[in-house]
Symmetry: C2
Subunit: 405 residues, 2 copies
């Protein structure tokens, strides 16, 4: 079960954007596995993609199309990642773009494809093409919740977030987004899949910048298992239908960025809450590091330590494992005497050893919680970072040993 | 159960070295948990230690003593790591060295201390001091097997290796060694603990070099869970009783180094075979990389991927997870079209996709084996590396969630 409240919000409709879903029978007959986003003419799209060298065919094609034309459609399938499929996978991907373009009277380069599911099997492109008319018939401004369900793979819950933002100038912008992912999660650019849209008009360069900043604080700060997917992609759409936001109005921009950051953090942390086998939601905050990179190195070393993760699963305040992970993070000349370590409000270690005030009962009280914050104060500088992760449970092994078999 | 044959060999006695064990009752009453190595006067010792910044008190003291005096005793306890214990831990460690020095008439700096066990609890130094006479009484040239047992913690099997080497010059050298470790294994300098001795006389600089080379191919090429311990240490002793080996005889040196490398690889891979929860013993060989570092980056990324490890636990030939791990290893400008991937004798992927000749049956046949070699050919240069690791099983989680509770 996901950790904490992961329920879908009521979605604000985003003017200029409609979503339709259908069942193409890609992996399981009858399951909704195909989603189309239709963007109004004049929409702009910013995108970030996985840095995995073995990126999937749709990542290659979407990146290429995004550089060539103004996107009008996003085409998303689950059940098959179309990754590790070589030139035949690329051809299958292009075929689906061409089919949707022909049905809708746009150029194939105006279609951005996304796939998620099993790696290494050929995409059943004919099945997808056959189901396109059905998805187009379903297009609706109210399609967010069905789409949040239709893009799931091993996810236990659909993931969405929505906000209505009133900008200082008086304009109102609706933001809605969905995400998916539960395993192979250590985005190095974006999550498995994330789609966020707003009914506003923005210059392309500004849209790109808003996305990069929001992703940097959210999808690029989560990890479940350290495995960066071949298919990660995150798109931010501005439909152009609505108020204009630009550099000329820095107050509006600041409020919009803050709202986007908040929405992206929610979408990203929902993926952690639904992490494979997760029983705990863990925030790791590293403070007073000498650099951002150093703070991230410590945070991710702790987040990826199987010994730390199993201790959290066991609700065992085994702080020695935390110290050992911090100590091997590669921080140059780390003075362990200066490190202070907290679990929520409890100081557990300082000056290289257990804190004088610490009792096992205090540690146990915190570890029994479902949501826990590890705070590591390095006393080396002014850089702070936080990342989110899960514990490592029996169910993680079960899910990943059983998947595909 | 450990993977493959891990039985102890008959140990060659090493002239000039005696070993005694005793029960100090550190964690469990009655368990042999204290080991003393007595080295002949004139012995030389080379040592490598963990790079974890939160290194244990005995690591700090052993490193310090090794730089000051010629060691005459190694003092090893299990049941308590004396790590994360601050200044009180240092004092307790020094106290045990002083006690042994007084009993034997050497300087405290001639005692090298080693601890392994739970992190963060104070070392019961009085219990250790009380048991020293008992261990000294047991000193014997035949103490290798009892010591291999007495240094175990979560190990399922004692670990040892022994060789008698005939050098080209006619001299005969006896090599014997023991190691321990099963979890928190990703040595960054040495293993949890490894002790190897030979009855030969070598200059210190040469002994240091032999150790560094042997460790580089063995203890520094294994990983169970990616967690570098706070207590890793590996010692190579030359008792000085026996033939002299020096740079003047390069043929002898080459044969001795090769024998040491083989012995160290055995001691290191025994730790992997006994890795916590291991059901598979996996060798990862990366070939034709542009540099050693690149080869190691790929090998360790694959070795640490929870998705790869759970697929091996399930005997599932899920090669997509292998490609995804290779792809995120951070290899600059990796051309996936050139990567070829083998499981034992079976080519499973080439040119960025499944090999034409590959069948699921072939993959399944290999995956059903207990010992498997993953071979990754990058076609980028002349550097090769290999590392050894385990799968990730239900038992790994159980062991680490239950330990200490």
């Amino acid at each position: 079960m996901p950790v904490g409240d992961t329920s879908l919000p009521p979605f604000e409709t985003v003017a200029g954007l409609r979503i339709g879903t259908a069942s193409a029978g890609i992996k399981k007959p009858g399951r909704q596995d195909l989603t189309i986003f239709e963007l109004a003419s004049g929409s702009r799209v910013a995108g970030v993609f996985t840095r995995n060298a073995f990126c999937a065919a749709p990542v290659t094609v979407a990146r290429e199309h995004l550089g060539k034309a103004a996107p009008r459609y996003l085409l998303i399938n689950t059940g098959n990642a179309n990754a590790g499929t070589g030139t035949r996978g690329l051809a299958a991907c292009r075929h689906t773009c061409e089919a949707l373009a022909e049905l809708t009277g746009v150029e194939p380069t105006q279609v951005l494809p996304f796939s998620t599911g099993v790696i290494g099997e050929l995409l059943p492109d004919e099945k997808i093409c056959d189901a396109l008319p059905q998805a187009l018939e379903q297009l609706s401004e109210r399609g967010w919740a069905p789409a949040a369900n239709a893009i799931m793979t091993t996810d236990m819950c659909p993931k969405g977030a929505s906000r209505q933002v009133s900008l200082p100038s008086g304009a109102v912008v609706n933001l809605s987004g969905i995400s998916k992912g539960a395993g192979m999660i250590r985005p190095d650019m974006a999550t498995m899949l994330g789609f966020v849209a707003m009914d506003a008009e923005l210059p392309q360069a500004l849209l790109d910048r808003l996305l990069r900043e929001a992703v940097g604080q959210s999808f690029n700060r989560i990890t479940v298992d350290g495995d960066t997917s071949t298919n990660d992609a995150c798109m931010l759409v501005a439909t152009g239908v609505g108020s204009r936001v630009s550099e000329d109005n820095p107050e509006d921009l600041a409020v919009l960025q803050a709202a986007l950051n908040e929405l992206f953090v929610r979408l990203a942390t929902l993926i952690v809450r639904d992490g494979e086998g997760a029983t705990k939601f863990i925030e790791i905050s590293v403070e007073q590091a000498a650099s951002q990179q150093e703070a991230l190195d410590v945070a991710y070393t702790v987040a990826h330590s199987p010994l730390v993760k199993t201790a959290f699963f066991a609700s065992d305040p085994n702080w020695g494992r935390l110290l050992a992970a911090i100590g091997r993070a590669g921080v140059d000349g780390l003075d362990v005497e200066k490190v202070t370590l907290y679990l929520d409000e409890v100081c557990i270690a300082e000056q290289g050893a257990r804190a004088e005030s610490y009792t096992e009962e205090q540690g146990q009280t915190v570890m029994n919680r479902e949501e826990i914050r590890i705070r590591i104060v390095l006393d080396r500088g002014g850089a702070n970072e936080r990342v989110w992760t899960t514990d490592l449970s029996h169910d993680y092994v079960r899910i990943n040993a059983e998947y595909r078999t």
